[in-house]
């Protein structure tokens, strides 16, 4: 459904992505794991065109583009089919929770206001934030903000939702509520790419694991196999370190 091939990206002399091939199938949950600085965030940002890849191609259902040579309009078309959840939420600070969820519907997709409002309320209910619909982001806890951000990302019914470490800016006691929302989405068949350091979540919710290091994909495996019996030595060391700590 979504596939990028041969993605290269460098910042100056720092080669961050060195020919990544990555894909997600419909209904699949892919966890992207890897040590800090391995290029996970950069990969998601290239897929959503927040960063422009130096080279690579993207196939997204009926769309096929060269990632380095793509027009603004084409980027817009692709983005209209994606949802994105940031590590630090990035809710619109000048809008209430409800207005945050409505914004993309009303302004970008021209959904009539009443309908968008109804849909936004449904989304907030889904993430358990209906009672905070009229709150501004600054009035919400981190976990609450992230749940609203998830509601915003899924409101337009995107074909895929990209998550960049959605819980790593949260206190441990708040990660649970966000992971629970994500688990529900996964169970409903939402196609998801999740960059995460939550090993339990990756093991129990993801179908597939992609392990990155140094700008390369080192191992790709089913989640079960990856955690039970990783193929690559690097992956094994990574698991030992992260799970050993937990």
């Amino acid at each position: 459904m979504l596939e990028v091939k041969n993605v290269y990206k460098s910042f100056g002399n720092n080669h961050v992505l060195k020919g990544i091939d990555f894909k997600v199938d419909k209904g699949e949950v892919v966890a992207v794991l890897g040590p800090s600085g391995s290029g996970k965030t950069t990969l998601l940002r290239c897929i959503s065109f927040l960063e422009r890849a130096d080279s690579g191609t993207i196939d997204f259902d009926e769309f096929h583009y060269d990632m380095a040579d793509i027009s603004k309009k084409e980027i817009h078309t692709l983005r209209m089919q994606m949802g994105f959840v940031f590590q630090n939420f990035n809710l619109f600070a000048n809008k209430t929770a409800l207005a945050n969820v409505m914004e993309g519907l009303v302004t970008a997709r021209h959904v009539p206001k009443a309908e968008a409002q109804k849909r936004a309320h449904e989304m907030l209910t889904k993430v358990g934030m209906e009672d905070r619909a009229d709150y501004y982001p600054a009035q919400l806890s981190g976990g609450q903000q992230q749940r609203v951000a998830i509601a915003r990302a899924i409101a337009s019914g995107p074909r895929v939702v990209l998550f960049d470490e959605p819980t790593s800016a949260l206190d441990p006691e708040l990660t649970g509520e966000v992971l629970a929302v994500m688990r529900n989405l996964a169970e409903e068949g939402t196609t998801m790419v999740v960059v995460t350091h939550e090993m339990k979540f990756a093991e129990n919710v993801a179908n597939r694991v992609v392990f990155m290091e140094g700008g390369n994909i080192v191992e790709e495996n089913t989640a079960k196999e990856f955690f039970r019996n990783p193929q690559k030595e690097r992956a094994r060391q990574f698991l030992q370190k992260t799970i050993g700590e937990a």
């Binding site: 817009h76 990035n90 600070a93 970008a108 600054a138 009035q139």
Partner: protein, 237 residues
């Protein structure tokens, strides 16, 4: 204080206050509002990196910040007629003050827009907003509270700068004080009076600023504290 001085004060106070209300205040408000539009334009073309217009903005700001306001007034009122552009004193003053404050406030607005976290733009783009929609609906509403105190500073500054318009024959507050001072030979009293009226105007503006800031503070990004104080308001809904 001699009886004569008391009488001069009681007579002249309203004679000075009236042009203050009829000329100084409208001159300030109209000039400031026009200047704000100019400033927004200059800030946006720089931030959006519009070729040619960006360079124009830089030269514009360089000129108006680098030359004295009084000289600019003289150029517009006394200089332009030799090019065939003859303006009445009041519009000449409005134009000059607007052009001048536009240059200063452009920098205020530009830095306020840049102070809105980049993640806001990224989030807006990803929910499908265009650049223009992102600016209008997300960035500018957040930049405004940041720009508000320095903009108000510049407004208060302008109230006082309008006294320069007396030098191009606009009959405003200070012109009137000068005229009465010349007639009564009491410059000390009259100029103190003029100062007092400017002080009153600026005090009112300062109070207005405090009040307005309180009204908008909890929408600003880094207002966790005020936000928690406002929690009750959210819960009533």
């Amino acid at each position: 204080m001699s009886e004569r001085v008391v009488e001069i004060i009681s007579q002249s106070f309203f004679q000075i206050l009236i042009p203050g209300i009829q000329v100084t205040i409208p001159l300030t408000i109209i000039s400031f509002a026009l200047g704000l539009l100019i400033a927004l334009f200059l800030a946006l073309v720089q931030i959006a990196n519009v070729p040619v217009l960006k360079q124009f903005a830089l030269v514009y700001i360089w000129f108006f910040r680098g030359t004295p306001l009084l000289v600019q007034l003289f150029i517009v009122f006394f200089g332009l007629p030799s090019l065939g552009v003859v303006l009445d004193a009041f519009p000449a003053a409005v134009i000059t003050f607007a052009l001048n404050s536009g240059a200063y406030n452009a920098e205020t607005l530009r830095s306020a827009i840049l102070a809105v976290p980049k993640g806001q733009t990224e989030a807006a783009e990803l929910v499908g907003l265009t650049y223009g929609q992102t600016m209008r609906r997300i960035i500018l509403p957040q930049a405004f509270p940041i720009a508000f105190p320095p903009l108000f500073n510049s407004l208060i500054g302008m109230v006082k700068d309008t006294s320069l318009a007396s030098s191009i024959t606009v009959i405003e507050l200070f012109t009137k004080a000068q005229q009465i001072a010349a007639r009564t030979f009491e410059p000390f009293v009259l100029y103190l009076e003029a100062a007092a009226i400017y002080l009153i105007f600026c005090t009112v503006l300062t109070l207005l600023q405090k009040w307005l800031e309180k009204k908008m503070v909890y929408r600003t990004p880094e207002s966790k504290l005020t936000a928690s104080e406002n929690k009750g308001a959210g819960e009533e809904k």
